[in-house]
Amino acid sequence: MKKSALAAPAQDRPSGFAQKCKHIWSYRVFYLMLIPGLVCLFFFHYMPMYGIGLAFREFSFTGGILSGEFVGMKYFQQAFRDKFFLQALRNTVVISFSKLIFGFPIPVIFALLLNEITNQKYKKVAQAFSFLPYFVSWVVLSSIFINLFSLDGPFNYLVQIFGGQPTVFLGEGNTFVKIVVITGIWQTLGWNSVIYTAALSGVDPQLYEAAVLDGAGKLKQMWHISLPAISNVIVIMLILSVGSILNAGFDQIFNMMNSAVLDKAEIIDTYVYKKGLQEMNYSYGTAIGLFKSVVGLIFVLTTNKIASVVGGDESTLF
Protein backbone atom coordinates (compact mmCIF):
# COMPACT_ATOMS: atom_id res chain seq x y z
CA MET A 1 0.00 0.00 0.00
CA LYS A 2 2.56 2.49 1.16
CA LYS A 3 4.91 1.58 -1.60
CA SER A 4 2.39 2.37 -4.32
CA ALA A 5 1.46 5.58 -2.63
CA LEU A 6 5.05 6.62 -2.76
CA ALA A 7 5.41 5.54 -6.33
CA ALA A 8 2.78 7.96 -7.61
CA PRO A 9 4.95 10.87 -8.69
CA ALA A 10 6.43 8.75 -11.38
CA GLN A 11 8.84 10.71 -13.46
CA ASP A 12 9.87 7.73 -15.52
CA ARG A 13 7.58 7.34 -18.49
CA PRO A 14 5.83 3.97 -18.37
CA SER A 15 6.43 1.73 -21.34
CA GLY A 16 4.39 -1.31 -22.19
CA PHE A 17 0.78 -2.00 -21.40
CA ALA A 18 1.27 -3.75 -18.08
CA GLN A 19 3.47 -1.00 -16.80
CA LYS A 20 1.00 1.61 -17.95
CA CYS A 21 -1.77 -0.12 -16.04
CA LYS A 22 0.43 -0.27 -13.00
CA HIS A 23 1.24 3.39 -13.39
CA ILE A 24 -2.45 4.32 -13.58
CA TRP A 25 -3.27 1.96 -10.71
CA SER A 26 -0.89 3.92 -8.51
CA TYR A 27 -3.21 6.89 -8.89
CA ARG A 28 -6.31 5.00 -7.78
CA VAL A 29 -6.90 7.19 -4.72
CA PHE A 30 -7.08 10.23 -6.97
CA TYR A 31 -9.56 8.58 -9.30
CA LEU A 32 -11.72 7.62 -6.33
CA MET A 33 -11.72 11.25 -5.27
CA LEU A 34 -12.97 12.28 -8.69
CA ILE A 35 -16.01 10.02 -8.49
CA PRO A 36 -18.46 12.27 -6.58
CA GLY A 37 -17.77 15.15 -8.94
CA LEU A 38 -18.07 12.97 -12.00
CA VAL A 39 -21.39 11.56 -10.78
CA CYS A 40 -22.71 15.08 -10.21
CA LEU A 41 -21.39 16.25 -13.55
CA PHE A 42 -23.18 13.37 -15.21
CA PHE A 43 -26.54 13.85 -13.51
CA PHE A 44 -26.69 17.63 -13.32
CA HIS A 45 -24.90 18.66 -16.49
CA TYR A 46 -24.45 15.92 -19.05
CA MET A 47 -27.82 14.25 -18.64
CA PRO A 48 -29.57 17.59 -19.27
CA MET A 49 -27.26 18.14 -22.23
CA TYR A 50 -28.37 14.83 -23.64
CA GLY A 51 -31.94 16.10 -23.32
CA ILE A 52 -31.21 18.87 -25.81
CA GLY A 53 -32.12 16.35 -28.50
CA LEU A 54 -35.66 17.19 -27.52
CA ALA A 55 -35.35 20.36 -29.57
CA PHE A 56 -35.50 18.17 -32.68
CA ARG A 57 -38.24 15.83 -31.49
CA GLU A 58 -41.80 15.80 -30.28
CA PHE A 59 -42.04 15.25 -26.55
CA SER A 60 -43.48 11.92 -25.57
CA PHE A 61 -45.21 11.95 -22.21
CA THR A 62 -45.12 8.18 -22.01
CA GLY A 63 -41.67 7.09 -23.19
CA GLY A 64 -38.13 8.25 -22.48
CA ILE A 65 -36.98 11.76 -23.09
CA LEU A 66 -35.89 11.18 -26.67
CA SER A 67 -38.53 8.62 -27.63
CA GLY A 68 -40.77 11.09 -29.47
CA GLU A 69 -40.96 11.43 -33.22
CA PHE A 70 -38.02 13.16 -34.91
CA VAL A 71 -39.13 16.45 -36.45
CA GLY A 72 -35.83 18.04 -37.44
CA MET A 73 -35.78 21.80 -37.50
CA LYS A 74 -39.54 22.21 -37.08
CA TYR A 75 -39.32 24.07 -33.77
CA PHE A 76 -36.55 26.37 -34.92
CA GLN A 77 -38.59 27.31 -37.97
CA GLN A 78 -41.55 27.84 -35.71
CA ALA A 79 -39.48 30.17 -33.54
CA PHE A 80 -38.52 32.40 -36.42
CA ARG A 81 -42.15 32.70 -37.46
CA ASP A 82 -43.23 33.37 -33.88
CA LYS A 83 -43.58 37.12 -33.50
CA PHE A 84 -43.42 36.86 -29.71
CA PHE A 85 -40.10 35.08 -29.89
CA LEU A 86 -38.69 37.68 -32.27
CA GLN A 87 -39.92 40.37 -29.95
CA ALA A 88 -38.26 38.65 -26.99
CA LEU A 89 -35.04 38.39 -28.96
CA ARG A 90 -35.17 42.09 -29.76
CA ASN A 91 -36.00 43.02 -26.16
CA THR A 92 -33.11 40.91 -24.90
CA VAL A 93 -30.62 42.68 -27.12
CA VAL A 94 -32.08 46.13 -26.38
CA ILE A 95 -32.01 45.69 -22.60
CA SER A 96 -28.67 44.00 -22.49
CA PHE A 97 -27.07 46.49 -24.85
CA SER A 98 -28.42 49.44 -22.88
CA LYS A 99 -27.03 47.92 -19.70
CA LEU A 100 -23.67 47.53 -21.40
CA ILE A 101 -23.48 51.05 -22.88
CA PHE A 102 -24.72 52.92 -19.85
CA GLY A 103 -23.52 50.51 -17.21
CA PHE A 104 -20.02 49.84 -18.41
CA PRO A 105 -18.36 53.22 -17.74
CA ILE A 106 -19.89 53.73 -14.30
CA PRO A 107 -17.84 51.16 -12.34
CA VAL A 108 -14.71 52.52 -14.03
CA ILE A 109 -15.58 56.04 -12.92
CA PHE A 110 -16.47 54.82 -9.44
CA ALA A 111 -13.12 53.06 -9.13
CA LEU A 112 -11.29 56.17 -10.31
CA LEU A 113 -13.14 58.26 -7.74
CA LEU A 114 -12.47 55.75 -4.97
CA ASN A 115 -8.82 55.83 -5.90
CA GLU A 116 -8.71 59.56 -5.18
CA ILE A 117 -10.04 59.18 -1.67
CA THR A 118 -7.26 59.52 0.86
CA ASN A 119 -9.25 58.68 3.97
CA GLN A 120 -8.95 54.91 3.97
CA LYS A 121 -11.82 54.35 6.37
CA TYR A 122 -14.23 56.40 4.29
CA LYS A 123 -13.11 54.55 1.21
CA LYS A 124 -13.60 51.11 2.77
CA VAL A 125 -17.04 51.93 4.12
CA ALA A 126 -18.22 53.47 0.85
CA GLN A 127 -16.95 50.45 -1.02
CA ALA A 128 -18.63 48.03 1.34
CA PHE A 129 -21.96 49.84 0.96
CA SER A 130 -21.68 49.87 -2.79
CA PHE A 131 -21.21 46.09 -2.86
CA LEU A 132 -24.19 45.28 -0.75
CA PRO A 133 -26.90 45.11 -3.44
CA TYR A 134 -24.90 42.43 -5.21
CA PHE A 135 -25.56 40.05 -2.33
CA VAL A 136 -29.30 40.45 -2.22
CA SER A 137 -31.58 38.32 -4.36
CA TRP A 138 -33.69 39.84 -7.08
CA VAL A 139 -36.81 38.56 -5.38
CA VAL A 140 -36.04 40.94 -2.54
CA LEU A 141 -34.69 43.74 -4.69
CA SER A 142 -37.66 43.60 -7.03
CA SER A 143 -40.12 43.68 -4.17
CA ILE A 144 -38.35 46.77 -2.90
CA PHE A 145 -38.30 48.47 -6.28
CA ILE A 146 -41.91 47.61 -7.04
CA ASN A 147 -42.58 49.46 -3.82
CA LEU A 148 -40.31 52.43 -4.48
CA PHE A 149 -41.72 52.94 -7.97
CA SER A 150 -45.34 52.40 -7.00
CA LEU A 151 -48.01 55.12 -7.14
CA ASP A 152 -47.45 56.15 -3.52
CA GLY A 153 -43.72 55.49 -3.51
CA PRO A 154 -40.99 58.11 -3.09
CA PHE A 155 -40.31 58.52 -6.80
CA ASN A 156 -43.87 59.50 -7.52
CA TYR A 157 -43.66 61.81 -4.54
CA LEU A 158 -40.72 63.54 -6.21
CA VAL A 159 -42.65 63.76 -9.46
CA GLN A 160 -45.55 65.40 -7.65
CA ILE A 161 -43.28 67.89 -5.87
CA PHE A 162 -42.13 69.06 -9.27
CA GLY A 163 -45.72 69.40 -10.38
CA GLY A 164 -46.00 66.21 -12.43
CA GLN A 165 -48.75 63.62 -12.49
CA PRO A 166 -48.01 60.37 -10.62
CA THR A 167 -47.42 57.49 -13.00
CA VAL A 168 -47.25 53.74 -12.67
CA PHE A 169 -43.59 53.57 -13.63
CA LEU A 170 -43.39 49.80 -13.92
CA GLY A 171 -46.66 49.59 -15.83
CA GLU A 172 -45.40 51.33 -18.95
CA GLY A 173 -43.10 49.45 -21.30
CA ASN A 174 -40.44 52.05 -22.05
CA THR A 175 -40.22 53.28 -18.48
CA PHE A 176 -40.04 49.68 -17.32
CA VAL A 177 -37.03 49.05 -19.54
CA LYS A 178 -35.32 52.19 -18.25
CA ILE A 179 -35.89 51.12 -14.67
CA VAL A 180 -34.58 47.65 -15.42
CA VAL A 181 -31.45 49.15 -16.92
CA ILE A 182 -30.92 51.61 -14.08
CA THR A 183 -31.56 49.15 -11.25
CA GLY A 184 -29.46 46.54 -13.02
CA ILE A 185 -26.55 48.94 -13.17
CA TRP A 186 -27.23 49.97 -9.59
CA GLN A 187 -26.98 46.39 -8.37
CA THR A 188 -23.64 45.55 -9.96
CA LEU A 189 -21.90 48.94 -9.85
CA GLY A 190 -19.85 48.40 -6.71
CA TRP A 191 -19.05 44.83 -7.48
CA ASN A 192 -17.92 45.50 -11.04
CA SER A 193 -15.63 48.26 -9.81
CA VAL A 194 -13.57 45.85 -7.68
CA ILE A 195 -11.46 44.65 -10.54
CA TYR A 196 -10.55 48.23 -11.48
CA THR A 197 -9.89 49.19 -7.88
CA ALA A 198 -7.49 46.29 -7.63
CA ALA A 199 -5.74 47.30 -10.83
CA LEU A 200 -5.45 50.88 -9.58
CA SER A 201 -3.93 49.80 -6.30
CA GLY A 202 -1.05 48.37 -8.28
CA VAL A 203 -0.06 51.70 -9.82
CA ASP A 204 3.35 52.91 -8.70
CA PRO A 205 2.82 55.96 -6.38
CA GLN A 206 6.01 57.48 -7.79
CA LEU A 207 4.17 58.14 -11.03
CA TYR A 208 1.75 60.42 -9.21
CA GLU A 209 4.58 62.13 -7.35
CA ALA A 210 6.38 62.77 -10.61
CA ALA A 211 3.19 64.17 -12.12
CA VAL A 212 2.74 66.52 -9.18
CA LEU A 213 6.27 67.80 -9.68
CA ASP A 214 5.42 68.41 -13.32
CA GLY A 215 2.50 70.50 -12.15
CA ALA A 216 -0.31 68.10 -13.06
CA GLY A 217 -3.52 68.59 -11.07
CA LYS A 218 -5.65 65.75 -9.78
CA LEU A 219 -7.82 65.57 -12.87
CA LYS A 220 -4.80 65.42 -15.12
CA GLN A 221 -3.29 62.68 -12.96
CA MET A 222 -6.51 60.73 -13.26
CA TRP A 223 -6.56 61.14 -17.00
CA HIS A 224 -2.87 60.58 -17.71
CA ILE A 225 -1.89 58.05 -15.05
CA SER A 226 -4.84 56.21 -13.50
CA LEU A 227 -6.87 55.72 -16.64
CA PRO A 228 -3.99 54.44 -18.81
CA ALA A 229 -2.97 52.15 -15.96
CA ILE A 230 -6.27 50.31 -16.13
CA SER A 231 -7.00 50.72 -19.83
CA ASN A 232 -5.99 47.13 -20.52
CA VAL A 233 -8.37 45.82 -17.91
CA ILE A 234 -11.12 48.07 -19.27
CA VAL A 235 -10.71 46.75 -22.80
CA ILE A 236 -10.73 43.15 -21.63
CA MET A 237 -13.79 43.64 -19.45
CA LEU A 238 -15.60 45.36 -22.29
CA ILE A 239 -14.86 42.59 -24.73
CA LEU A 240 -15.88 39.93 -22.24
CA SER A 241 -19.13 41.66 -21.39
CA VAL A 242 -20.09 41.71 -25.05
CA GLY A 243 -19.89 37.93 -24.80
CA SER A 244 -22.91 37.82 -22.52
CA ILE A 245 -25.07 40.06 -24.66
CA LEU A 246 -27.93 37.55 -24.63
CA ASN A 247 -28.15 37.64 -20.83
CA ALA A 248 -30.38 40.58 -20.14
CA GLY A 249 -30.86 39.60 -16.50
CA PHE A 250 -33.41 36.84 -16.06
CA ASP A 251 -33.62 37.04 -12.25
CA GLN A 252 -34.27 40.73 -12.34
CA ILE A 253 -36.77 40.88 -15.18
CA PHE A 254 -38.68 37.76 -14.21
CA ASN A 255 -39.35 39.26 -10.79
CA MET A 256 -40.05 42.81 -11.92
CA MET A 257 -42.19 42.22 -14.99
CA ASN A 258 -45.95 42.31 -15.12
CA SER A 259 -48.47 41.59 -17.81
CA ALA A 260 -48.80 45.25 -18.79
CA VAL A 261 -45.24 45.48 -20.09
CA LEU A 262 -44.81 42.08 -21.75
CA ASP A 263 -44.18 43.55 -25.19
CA LYS A 264 -41.07 45.35 -23.92
CA ALA A 265 -40.06 43.17 -20.99
CA GLU A 266 -40.29 39.63 -22.31
CA ILE A 267 -36.75 38.35 -22.91
CA ILE A 268 -35.61 35.02 -24.30
CA ASP A 269 -35.14 33.46 -20.87
CA THR A 270 -38.56 34.44 -19.59
CA TYR A 271 -40.10 33.30 -22.87
CA VAL A 272 -38.43 29.90 -22.59
CA TYR A 273 -39.82 29.57 -19.08
CA LYS A 274 -43.29 30.57 -20.16
CA LYS A 275 -43.47 28.39 -23.28
CA GLY A 276 -41.54 25.46 -21.92
CA LEU A 277 -42.50 25.11 -18.29
CA GLN A 278 -45.75 26.98 -17.92
CA GLU A 279 -47.34 25.93 -21.20
CA MET A 280 -45.46 22.60 -21.10
CA ASN A 281 -44.38 22.97 -24.70
CA TYR A 282 -41.13 21.19 -23.84
CA SER A 283 -39.75 20.79 -27.34
CA TYR A 284 -40.34 24.40 -28.31
CA GLY A 285 -38.86 25.67 -25.04
CA THR A 286 -35.80 23.47 -25.50
CA ALA A 287 -35.35 24.68 -29.08
CA ILE A 288 -35.40 28.35 -28.10
CA GLY A 289 -33.12 27.67 -25.15
CA LEU A 290 -30.70 25.83 -27.44
CA PHE A 291 -30.73 28.70 -29.91
CA LYS A 292 -29.77 31.04 -27.10
CA SER A 293 -27.04 28.73 -25.76
CA VAL A 294 -25.46 28.27 -29.18
CA VAL A 295 -25.48 31.96 -30.08
CA GLY A 296 -24.24 32.78 -26.57
CA LEU A 297 -21.45 30.21 -26.90
CA ILE A 298 -20.33 31.69 -30.22
CA PHE A 299 -20.28 35.14 -28.65
CA VAL A 300 -18.32 34.00 -25.60
CA LEU A 301 -15.74 32.09 -27.62
CA THR A 302 -15.30 34.93 -30.10
CA THR A 303 -14.93 37.60 -27.45
CA ASN A 304 -12.52 35.42 -25.49
CA LYS A 305 -10.45 34.93 -28.60
CA ILE A 306 -10.39 38.67 -29.20
CA ALA A 307 -9.56 39.34 -25.55
CA SER A 308 -6.64 36.93 -25.64
CA VAL A 309 -5.32 38.56 -28.80
CA VAL A 310 -5.67 42.01 -27.28
CA GLY A 311 -4.50 41.33 -23.77
CA GLY A 312 -2.56 38.12 -23.91
CA ASP A 313 -3.48 34.72 -22.48
CA GLU A 314 -3.76 35.98 -18.92
CA SER A 315 -6.86 37.99 -19.65
CA THR A 316 -9.24 35.32 -20.89
CA LEU A 317 -11.60 33.08 -19.03
CA PHE A 318 -10.26 29.84 -20.44
Binding site: A5, L6, A8, P9, H23, I24, Y27, V29, F30, L34, P36, G37, L38, L41, F44, H45, P48, Y50, G51, L113, L114, N119, Y122, K123, V125, A126, F129, F135, S137, V139, V140, S143, I144, N147, L148, D152, P154, N156, Y157, Q160, W186, L189, G190, V194, I195, A198, G217, K218, L219, D251, F254, N255, V272, G276, G285, T286, G289, V300, T316, F318
Partner: protein, 302 residues
Protein backbone atom coordinates in the same frame (compact mmCIF):
# COMPACT_ATOMS: atom_id res chain seq x y z
CA UNK B 1 11.47 80.08 -8.29
CA UNK B 2 9.70 82.49 -6.04
CA UNK B 3 6.85 82.68 -8.52
CA UNK B 4 6.19 78.98 -8.17
CA UNK B 5 5.15 79.16 -4.55
CA UNK B 6 1.77 80.86 -4.87
CA UNK B 7 1.10 78.54 -7.74
CA UNK B 8 1.69 75.54 -5.53
CA UNK B 9 -0.62 76.90 -2.89
CA UNK B 10 -3.39 77.46 -5.39
CA UNK B 11 -2.93 73.94 -6.58
CA UNK B 12 -3.38 72.46 -3.15
CA UNK B 13 -6.52 74.51 -2.70
CA UNK B 14 -7.77 73.19 -6.02
CA UNK B 15 -6.86 69.71 -4.87
CA UNK B 16 -8.78 70.21 -1.68
CA UNK B 17 -11.91 71.21 -3.58
CA UNK B 18 -11.40 68.28 -5.89
CA UNK B 19 -11.07 66.04 -2.85
CA UNK B 20 -14.37 67.27 -1.46
CA UNK B 21 -16.18 66.80 -4.75
CA UNK B 22 -14.86 63.26 -5.03
CA UNK B 23 -15.82 62.47 -1.43
CA UNK B 24 -19.34 63.79 -2.00
CA UNK B 25 -19.78 61.85 -5.23
CA UNK B 26 -18.56 58.62 -3.66
CA UNK B 27 -20.74 59.23 -0.64
CA UNK B 28 -23.71 59.79 -2.90
CA UNK B 29 -23.11 56.52 -4.75
CA UNK B 30 -22.72 54.65 -1.47
CA UNK B 31 -25.93 56.19 -0.18
CA UNK B 32 -27.76 55.25 -3.37
CA UNK B 33 -26.64 51.67 -2.87
CA UNK B 34 -27.92 51.76 0.66
CA UNK B 35 -31.13 53.76 0.28
CA UNK B 36 -33.56 50.99 -0.71
CA UNK B 37 -32.53 49.05 2.38
CA UNK B 38 -32.90 52.07 4.63
CA UNK B 39 -36.33 52.60 3.13
CA UNK B 40 -37.65 49.11 3.85
CA UNK B 41 -36.10 49.10 7.29
CA UNK B 42 -37.77 52.32 8.34
CA UNK B 43 -41.13 51.50 6.74
CA UNK B 44 -41.17 48.09 8.39
CA UNK B 45 -40.79 49.79 11.77
CA UNK B 46 -43.28 52.61 11.18
CA UNK B 47 -46.80 53.19 12.38
CA UNK B 48 -49.47 53.92 9.78
CA UNK B 49 -49.23 57.69 9.66
CA UNK B 50 -45.48 57.49 9.07
CA UNK B 51 -45.52 54.51 6.69
CA UNK B 52 -48.18 56.02 4.45
CA UNK B 53 -46.53 59.40 4.34
CA UNK B 54 -45.27 59.81 0.79
CA UNK B 55 -41.67 60.54 0.09
CA UNK B 56 -38.38 59.19 1.23
CA UNK B 57 -37.83 57.24 4.42
CA UNK B 58 -34.31 57.15 5.75
CA UNK B 59 -34.72 56.26 9.40
CA UNK B 60 -37.62 55.21 11.58
CA UNK B 61 -38.99 58.21 13.45
CA UNK B 62 -38.97 57.87 17.24
CA UNK B 63 -42.51 58.00 18.55
CA UNK B 64 -43.88 56.71 15.25
CA UNK B 65 -42.33 53.30 15.60
CA UNK B 66 -43.85 49.88 16.12
CA UNK B 67 -42.57 46.34 15.86
CA UNK B 68 -46.05 44.86 15.44
CA UNK B 69 -45.31 43.86 11.86
CA UNK B 70 -42.45 41.65 12.99
CA UNK B 71 -44.41 40.24 15.90
CA UNK B 72 -47.23 39.17 13.65
CA UNK B 73 -44.97 37.83 10.93
CA UNK B 74 -43.17 35.64 13.39
CA UNK B 75 -46.51 34.02 14.13
CA UNK B 76 -46.89 33.03 10.49
CA UNK B 77 -45.97 29.35 10.09
CA UNK B 78 -44.92 29.81 6.46
CA UNK B 79 -42.16 32.21 7.48
CA UNK B 80 -40.71 29.75 9.97
CA UNK B 81 -41.03 26.89 7.55
CA UNK B 82 -39.33 28.93 4.85
CA UNK B 83 -36.54 29.82 7.23
CA UNK B 84 -36.04 26.23 8.27
CA UNK B 85 -35.92 25.00 4.70
CA UNK B 86 -33.56 27.76 3.61
CA UNK B 87 -31.18 27.00 6.45
CA UNK B 88 -31.28 23.29 5.64
CA UNK B 89 -30.60 23.92 1.96
CA UNK B 90 -27.89 26.48 2.64
CA UNK B 91 -26.05 24.36 5.18
CA UNK B 92 -26.45 21.08 3.32
CA UNK B 93 -25.77 22.58 -0.10
CA UNK B 94 -22.64 24.40 0.99
CA UNK B 95 -21.28 21.36 2.75
CA UNK B 96 -21.94 19.04 -0.19
CA UNK B 97 -20.48 21.53 -2.64
CA UNK B 98 -17.27 21.95 -0.65
CA UNK B 99 -16.85 18.18 -0.37
CA UNK B 100 -17.34 17.70 -4.10
CA UNK B 101 -15.22 20.71 -5.05
CA UNK B 102 -12.22 19.81 -2.93
CA UNK B 103 -12.30 16.12 -3.81
CA UNK B 104 -12.47 17.00 -7.48
CA UNK B 105 -9.93 19.80 -7.35
CA UNK B 106 -7.19 17.81 -5.63
CA UNK B 107 -6.59 15.24 -8.37
CA UNK B 108 -6.88 17.97 -11.00
CA UNK B 109 -4.13 19.86 -9.20
CA UNK B 110 -1.71 17.03 -9.94
CA UNK B 111 0.00 17.69 -13.22
CA UNK B 112 1.08 14.07 -13.53
CA UNK B 113 -2.39 12.51 -13.21
CA UNK B 114 -3.07 10.38 -16.29
CA UNK B 115 -6.24 11.62 -17.97
CA UNK B 116 -6.13 14.96 -16.19
CA UNK B 117 -6.96 16.87 -19.36
CA UNK B 118 -10.03 14.77 -20.03
CA UNK B 119 -11.44 15.44 -16.55
CA UNK B 120 -10.61 19.12 -16.78
CA UNK B 121 -12.33 19.33 -20.13
CA UNK B 122 -15.44 17.55 -18.84
CA UNK B 123 -15.58 20.13 -16.10
CA UNK B 124 -14.79 23.30 -18.01
CA UNK B 125 -17.12 22.44 -20.84
CA UNK B 126 -20.06 22.92 -18.46
CA UNK B 127 -19.00 26.55 -18.16
CA UNK B 128 -19.48 27.03 -21.88
CA UNK B 129 -22.57 25.08 -22.55
CA UNK B 130 -25.49 23.70 -20.62
CA UNK B 131 -28.68 21.87 -21.31
CA UNK B 132 -30.92 24.82 -20.61
CA UNK B 133 -33.79 24.93 -18.20
CA UNK B 134 -36.23 22.58 -19.92
CA UNK B 135 -33.90 19.60 -20.38
CA UNK B 136 -32.57 20.17 -16.87
CA UNK B 137 -36.08 20.19 -15.49
CA UNK B 138 -36.94 16.98 -17.31
CA UNK B 139 -33.73 15.34 -16.10
CA UNK B 140 -34.56 16.21 -12.49
CA UNK B 141 -38.04 14.87 -13.02
CA UNK B 142 -36.64 11.59 -14.34
CA UNK B 143 -34.34 11.36 -11.35
CA UNK B 144 -37.41 11.76 -9.11
CA UNK B 145 -35.88 14.82 -7.52
CA UNK B 146 -38.84 17.14 -7.94
CA UNK B 147 -40.24 18.41 -4.66
CA UNK B 148 -37.16 17.51 -2.66
CA UNK B 149 -34.87 19.83 -0.78
CA UNK B 150 -32.02 17.70 -2.08
CA UNK B 151 -32.39 19.03 -5.61
CA UNK B 152 -32.04 22.55 -4.23
CA UNK B 153 -28.88 21.57 -2.37
CA UNK B 154 -27.48 20.21 -5.59
CA UNK B 155 -27.70 23.51 -7.41
CA UNK B 156 -24.13 24.49 -8.17
CA UNK B 157 -22.78 21.27 -6.69
CA UNK B 158 -20.22 21.09 -9.47
CA UNK B 159 -19.22 24.59 -10.41
CA UNK B 160 -16.37 24.61 -12.88
CA UNK B 161 -15.34 28.09 -11.85
CA UNK B 162 -15.19 27.34 -8.13
CA UNK B 163 -13.39 24.05 -8.65
CA UNK B 164 -10.78 25.69 -10.84
CA UNK B 165 -10.20 28.39 -8.23
CA UNK B 166 -9.64 25.74 -5.56
CA UNK B 167 -7.46 23.70 -7.89
CA UNK B 168 -5.28 26.74 -8.51
CA UNK B 169 -4.91 27.23 -4.81
CA UNK B 170 -3.96 23.58 -4.30
CA UNK B 171 -1.37 23.91 -7.06
CA UNK B 172 0.18 26.85 -5.26
CA UNK B 173 0.85 24.79 -2.11
CA UNK B 174 4.52 23.75 -2.04
CA UNK B 175 4.80 20.06 -2.86
CA UNK B 176 7.52 19.57 -0.24
CA UNK B 177 4.86 19.57 2.46
CA UNK B 178 2.90 16.82 0.79
CA UNK B 179 6.01 14.81 0.03
CA UNK B 180 7.19 15.09 3.61
CA UNK B 181 3.85 13.77 4.80
CA UNK B 182 4.02 10.86 2.39
CA UNK B 183 7.51 9.95 3.44
CA UNK B 184 6.12 9.81 6.97
CA UNK B 185 3.82 7.13 5.65
CA UNK B 186 0.64 9.10 5.01
CA UNK B 187 -1.45 8.01 2.03
CA UNK B 188 -2.67 10.47 -0.59
CA UNK B 189 -6.04 10.88 1.04
CA UNK B 190 -4.55 11.46 4.49
CA UNK B 191 -2.21 14.04 3.01
CA UNK B 192 -5.16 15.72 1.38
CA UNK B 193 -7.31 15.73 4.50
CA UNK B 194 -4.65 16.56 7.06
CA UNK B 195 -2.17 18.75 5.21
CA UNK B 196 -3.80 20.28 2.16
CA UNK B 197 -7.29 21.06 3.46
CA UNK B 198 -6.16 22.89 6.63
CA UNK B 199 -3.78 24.98 4.53
CA UNK B 200 -6.64 25.89 2.20
CA UNK B 201 -8.91 27.40 4.82
CA UNK B 202 -8.86 30.92 3.33
CA UNK B 203 -9.91 29.85 -0.14
CA UNK B 204 -12.44 27.36 1.20
CA UNK B 205 -13.99 30.02 3.44
CA UNK B 206 -14.30 32.38 0.51
CA UNK B 207 -15.83 29.80 -1.79
CA UNK B 208 -18.02 28.43 1.01
CA UNK B 209 -19.43 31.88 1.77
CA UNK B 210 -19.95 32.42 -1.89
CA UNK B 211 -21.90 29.20 -2.32
CA UNK B 212 -23.77 29.81 0.94
CA UNK B 213 -24.99 33.25 -0.09
CA UNK B 214 -25.96 31.78 -3.43
CA UNK B 215 -28.13 29.18 -1.70
CA UNK B 216 -29.62 31.72 0.66
CA UNK B 217 -30.66 33.92 -2.25
CA UNK B 218 -31.64 31.16 -4.62
CA UNK B 219 -35.25 31.26 -5.68
CA UNK B 220 -35.50 30.05 -9.26
CA UNK B 221 -34.72 26.42 -8.55
CA UNK B 222 -37.40 26.46 -5.87
CA UNK B 223 -39.88 28.06 -8.27
CA UNK B 224 -39.12 25.41 -10.83
CA UNK B 225 -38.79 22.23 -8.79
CA UNK B 226 -40.90 22.68 -5.67
CA UNK B 227 -44.67 22.60 -5.53
CA UNK B 228 -45.03 21.09 -2.08
CA UNK B 229 -45.93 23.90 0.33
CA UNK B 230 -43.96 22.28 3.13
CA UNK B 231 -40.76 22.51 1.15
CA UNK B 232 -40.84 26.14 0.11
CA UNK B 233 -37.67 28.06 0.91
CA UNK B 234 -37.77 31.59 2.22
CA UNK B 235 -37.15 33.23 -1.15
CA UNK B 236 -40.03 31.25 -2.62
CA UNK B 237 -42.30 32.34 0.23
CA UNK B 238 -41.24 35.90 -0.45
CA UNK B 239 -41.86 35.59 -4.14
CA UNK B 240 -45.27 34.05 -3.63
CA UNK B 241 -46.40 36.69 -1.21
CA UNK B 242 -44.65 39.84 -2.45
CA UNK B 243 -44.42 39.43 -6.18
CA UNK B 244 -47.22 37.09 -7.18
CA UNK B 245 -49.61 39.04 -4.99
CA UNK B 246 -52.60 38.05 -7.02
CA UNK B 247 -52.94 34.57 -5.62
CA UNK B 248 -55.13 33.65 -2.69
CA UNK B 249 -52.33 32.47 -0.44
CA UNK B 250 -50.82 35.91 -0.50
CA UNK B 251 -53.99 37.72 0.44
CA UNK B 252 -54.70 35.23 3.21
CA UNK B 253 -51.16 35.64 4.39
CA UNK B 254 -51.52 39.38 4.64
CA UNK B 255 -54.96 39.19 6.19
CA UNK B 256 -53.49 37.11 8.99
CA UNK B 257 -50.39 39.21 9.24
CA UNK B 258 -52.22 42.48 9.84
CA UNK B 259 -54.85 40.92 12.09
CA UNK B 260 -55.14 42.53 15.52
CA UNK B 261 -52.86 45.41 14.56
CA UNK B 262 -53.42 48.84 13.12
CA UNK B 263 -50.96 48.10 10.38
CA UNK B 264 -51.34 48.36 6.64
CA UNK B 265 -49.87 45.78 4.30
CA UNK B 266 -46.88 47.91 3.45
CA UNK B 267 -45.26 47.50 6.85
CA UNK B 268 -45.82 43.75 6.79
CA UNK B 269 -44.35 43.49 3.32
CA UNK B 270 -41.33 45.51 4.37
CA UNK B 271 -40.90 43.45 7.52
CA UNK B 272 -41.05 40.27 5.47
CA UNK B 273 -38.31 41.61 3.22
CA UNK B 274 -36.27 42.53 6.27
CA UNK B 275 -36.65 39.10 7.80
CA UNK B 276 -34.98 37.55 4.78
CA UNK B 277 -32.34 40.29 4.65
CA UNK B 278 -31.30 40.38 8.29
CA UNK B 279 -28.97 37.36 8.19
CA UNK B 280 -27.18 38.78 5.15
CA UNK B 281 -26.93 42.22 6.73
CA UNK B 282 -25.66 40.79 10.00
CA UNK B 283 -22.87 38.70 8.52
CA UNK B 284 -22.03 41.17 5.76
CA UNK B 285 -19.62 43.43 7.69
CA UNK B 286 -17.64 40.40 8.82
CA UNK B 287 -17.46 38.53 5.57
CA UNK B 288 -17.36 41.26 2.97
CA UNK B 289 -13.59 41.06 2.89
CA UNK B 290 -13.87 37.48 1.74
CA UNK B 291 -16.25 38.48 -1.01
CA UNK B 292 -13.83 41.10 -2.20
CA UNK B 293 -11.08 38.51 -2.16
CA UNK B 294 -13.36 36.18 -4.06
CA UNK B 295 -13.37 38.20 -7.22
CA UNK B 296 -9.61 38.57 -7.07
CA UNK B 297 -8.81 34.89 -6.73
CA UNK B 298 -11.26 34.36 -9.55
CA UNK B 299 -9.23 36.70 -11.68
CA UNK B 300 -6.14 34.55 -11.35
CA UNK B 301 -6.15 32.14 -14.19
CA UNK B 302 -4.88 28.56 -13.97
Amino acid sequence: MSKKNPNAIRKTRGDAIFGWIVAILVGFIALTALYPFLHVTSVSLSTNDEAFRGGFHFFPIPGKMTIDAYKNLLKAPSVWLGYKNTILVTAGGTFLALVVYTLFAYPLARRDLPGRNVFTFLLVFTMLFNGGIIPTYIAMKQLNLLNTLFVLMCQNIVSAFNIMVIRNFFMSIPTDLEEAARIDGAGHFTTFAQIVLPLSKPVLTTIGLWVGVGHWNSWFAATMYIQDKNKLVLQAVLRNTLILMSNDNASNFFKQAVEGTELGQIQVKSALIMISLIPILVIYPFVYKYFEKGIMIGAVKG
